[in-house]
């Protein structure tokens, strides 16, 4: 079996007296499409914040490509190749779409990019935002905003892309649109962790799924195994 790309072991995160993550472990293989699901408040976003470095952890360890990264600041993790998109898009509002990509190209991918303009143009064309390159984010529609979020993450040259509810609130056709983009990124060799409430999307996309409930890992398996798991059904629907 290949060395895991990301390995989380016994992760603990507390907010005061509340334990948001209780000794959660998971490992993601290179090139994998990995789903992370769970009811509201189960700790998915906390998990992502710990992996990306936005939150300090209270216990456990995180390794990326065999390297201990538990205490690295977020920008250094990004440079190593862990890039996230945000649930609520957080574009750089004073910049055009093209300039938004300039920040990760210049910082996260520093030294790994030959031609910034060509790179940005290619990403925008891939994702279908090339016609909007000179607009400010305020002039974008909701789905274009999600695409900008993904395009900006792409510009950081990720090895592992964490997509935090990139599809919430989108129409069915738009969901397919985003899914197609994520599938394409995966075929380019990018490992993807998808956090999603839209079951249709996450079931179709993921090769393997981990289910969180109330800060505990309650199930793991292929999409088929997970939906048949009684513990998962109980977590979502109650007794």
């Amino acid at each position: 079996m290949a060395e895991p790309l990301l390995e989380v072991q016994g992760l603990v995160k507390r907010f005061g007296g509340f334990t948001a993550l209780n000794k959660v472990s998971l490992s993601v293989k290179p090139g994998e499409r990995f789903g992370l699901i769970g009811p509201n408040g189960s700790g998915k976003t906390t998990m992502i914040n710990c992996i990306s470095g936005a939150l300090p952890v209270d216990g456990g360890s995180i390794r990326f490509e065999g390297r201990e990264i538990t205490n690295l600041p977020p920008h250094q993790r990004t440079r190593l190749g862990i890039v996230r998109s945000f649930q609520i898009p957080k574009p750089f509002t004073s910049m055009t779409v093209r300039e938004n990509l300039g920040i990760p190209l210049e910082y996260a991918a520093a030294g790994r990019i030959r031609d910034e303009d060509a790179e940005a143009a290619e990403i925008l064309r891939d994702i279908g935002l090339d016609a909007k390159a000179h607009l400010r984010p305020a002039g974008l529609t909701q789905i274009e905003m999600r695409k900008l979020e993904l395009a900006r993450a792409m510009a950081a040259r990720p090895k592992l892309l964490i997509s935090d509810e990139a599809m919430a609130g989108l129409s069915s056709a738009e969901v397919d649109d985003i899914l197609a983009i994520l599938f394409r990124l995966n075929t380019q060799g990018i490992t993807i962790i998808m956090i999603e409430h839209i079951m249709r999307a996450v079931m179709r996309f993921s090769e393997r799924i981990v289910v969180l409930d109330a800060g505990e890992r309650i199930a793991e398996g292929t999409p088929e195994e997970v939906v048949r798991n009684p513990a998962v059904e109980k977590a979502y629907l109650g007794e």
Partner: protein, 310 residues
């Protein structure tokens, strides 16, 4: 405009300033001109942190006074020459800047601004209780004999002109470099910037330190300019208000904004001081600022851009 050409323009402006200093006009013009040039430095310095990085500093008087009181200390203890005062004043204020830089770790937005305001109050209290630099009574400073040219006010006017040119060049360089782009990113969204690989803490420390340095530099010649330094004038509210109002009125996103704001507001308040009363000038600043915040929140630069149709 390339950096080389900007340097040439800077040299020309400085030369013009010196030529102006050679003219034998009413000495009051130099006296008033010094204040306007000083405000170009202050507004430009403030904007590096407030405009580029989006951290609003209400504590400008603290930094300015650090420059001024470092100078007072060095004049009293060793009669240090002006260039030494300027560099030392800048360095002490830069250290203070580095200190508030670490505040940004925990405090953002309004909370950061309140902390900087508190800093000014604390430092003023400390100075009031420090007898060596004059305490609450203040201290007379005697200007050195024989400035290199003109009388001493004309000389200080020229020096401040040079400092203004240097500040503007520094701000312009930061704005157009990778540092400026990183600061703009963290101003827009600090979390997203960090996640896109921007070392936000390092950039913020850089901005607070450079901004503090230039504010201290603006304050260092102050003792020789007024010849009597006391806490109320060195920590004057004017600095806090003007440092913020000038970039806001000119436009905070570009180096030219604070310059425009400082020249306009500085000139207006000097005129008001002479023609109406010295108390009127802050009132005018206040009214103009409110007007701009309501009608043109992006300042004169924003207005111009809008009129040109984007």
């Amino acid at each position: 405009m390339k950096t080389g050409r900007a340097l040439v323009v800077g040299v020309i402006v400085t030369a013009l300033g010196i030529a102006l200093a050679m003219l034998k006009v009413n000495p009051y013009f130099y006296f008033a001109g010094y204040v306007i040039l000083q405000y170009i430095v202050i507004a430009t310095a403030w904007n590096i942190l407030g405009g580029y990085a989006g951290y609003v500093n209400f504590g400008t008087p603290a930094f300015f006074a650090m420059g001024a009181y470092t100078a007072v200390f060095l004049i009293r203890s060793m009669k240090a020459p002006l260039p030494v005062l300027i560099v030392a004043g800048g360095l002490v204020a830069a250290l203070l800047g580095l200190g508030i830089g670490y505040l940004t770790l925990r405090l953002r937005g309004t909370f950061f601004s309140i902390a900087t305001l508190a800093l000014a109050v604390v430092l003023q209290t400390a100075i009031i209780n420090w007898e060596y630099v004059g305490g609450s009574r203040g201290l007379s400073v005697i200007r050195p004999q024989g400035p290199p040219f003109g009388n001493y006010v004309v000389f200080l006017f020229t020096v401040m002109g040079g400092l203004a040119v240097v500040s503007v060049l520094v701000a312009r360089f930061i704005e157009r470099s990778w540092i400026g782009r990183g600061l703009a990113a963290l101003r827009d969204n600090e979390e997203a910037a960090e996640c896109m690989g921007v070392p936000t803490l390092k950039l913020k420390l850089f901005a607070t330190t450079v901004s503090g340095f230039l504010l201290g530099v603006a304050g260092a010649p102050f003792p020789y300019y007024v010849t009597f330094v006391e806490p109320n004038s060195a920590f004057a509210l004017d600095y806090a208000v003007n440092a913020l109002a000038m970039p806001m009125i000119g436009g905070t996103t570009s180096w030219i904004g604070p310059v425009i704001g400082a020249v306009l507001l500085g000139t207006a308040s000097q005129l008001a001081t002479v023609t109406i009363s010295s108390e009127m000038n802050l009132f005018i600043v206040g009214v103009v600022l409110v007007g701009f915040v309501v009608l043109a929140p992006e300042g004169i630069l924003g207005l111009v851009r809008r009129l040109r149709g984007r």
